[in-house]
Symmetry: C2
Subunit: 178 residues, 2 copies
């Protein structure tokens, strides 16, 4: 395994921390890396399924200045359990709560340069329940039957890579939460 | 559409830029966002297929301080064409060149807070050809037959979310490069 010889914080903003790492590889080669980490507790992404339909949301995505298609998701609050965060986001973003939440995968966004975990949660057993959210405007909810996903996804742009990864994880039964 | 009322750079490092955006939504609600963008020209991720096998790489991922499974990938150099970058990375990282490269998708990593595009390139028509890379140590190449992907992926940890997204894109014929 490579060894972290030195680690220093270059800068820290409200949401992000950028660090510089000096890494020594087993062959004694040294390399400097810049890596980002969030300043919070990670995020949940919830895949809600009801009557063989997936529930997606469309929301304004500031980094690309356009609307983006994704699953209900959000930051985990301090001290909050992963599944509680998932059920809260579900109620805030699509107006459902779930009695069958399952954490199936912990996803690494881009492990080479971002230390950010997204917990992928499958949500079945849905029933209406609304909590007030902190969204600046009403989210658009889009449903899609499982068998129509390909054409639905081809019609949408700015899809969050994690939503596509989550669909692969679901479809092929991947599970890294043993 | 929401309007960007103000945009300022909070900090800039060698690799990253963090900006603060003041967004006004159509309902006149204002919200501040912090977003990250890379300082380069985006990245390619290449899916090499030979004899019904995918070629993956395992490389040290500094942000999680562990080895990560992903596809051959790397930054696009200034002035470099996307497919040229893909063919260069292929030769540097797995020792093959391709005569059948196809840009099938432009992937958004996490459009809510990172403006980073990864160009997903399918690479067939492979033949041996090696270029020297800039890796600090030899990359580990892992092949997997298409029909064994689920068990292979379940045995690996720290998988780049973009590799899972790319597999979904490939499997379901998604294409946002018209």
């Amino acid at each position: 395994m490579p060894t972290i010889k030195n680690k220093s914080i270059i800068t820290k903003t409200k949401l992000f921390k950028v660090e510089k790492l000096d890494i020594e590889f087993e062959n004694k080669v040294h390399r400097e890396y810049e890596v980002i980490s969030g300043t919070g507790y990670g995020a949940v992404m919830v895949m809600p399924i009801l009557n063989d339909e997936f529930y997606f949301i469309k929301e304004y995505a500031a980094a690309v200045d356009d609307y983006s298609l994704t699953f209900p998701k959000g930051k985990i609050d301090e001290g909050e359990l992963i599944l509680d965060a998932a059920n809260r986001e579900l109620q805030e973003e699509i107006g459902f709560k779930s009695t069958m939440l399952k954490h199936i995968y912990t996803l690494d966004l881009a492990p080479g340069y971002i230390d950010h975990k997204t917990y992928i949660i499958l949500a079945e057993g849905l029933s209406p329940s609304k909590l007030p959210g902190d969204e600046p405007e009403e989210l658009i909810i889009e449903k899609c039957a499982k068998q129509n996903l390909s054409s639905f996804l081809n019609e949408n742009k700015n899809i969050d890579s994690r939503a596509l990864a989550a669909l692969y994880i679901y479809k092929y039964g991947l599970n890294n939460v043993k």
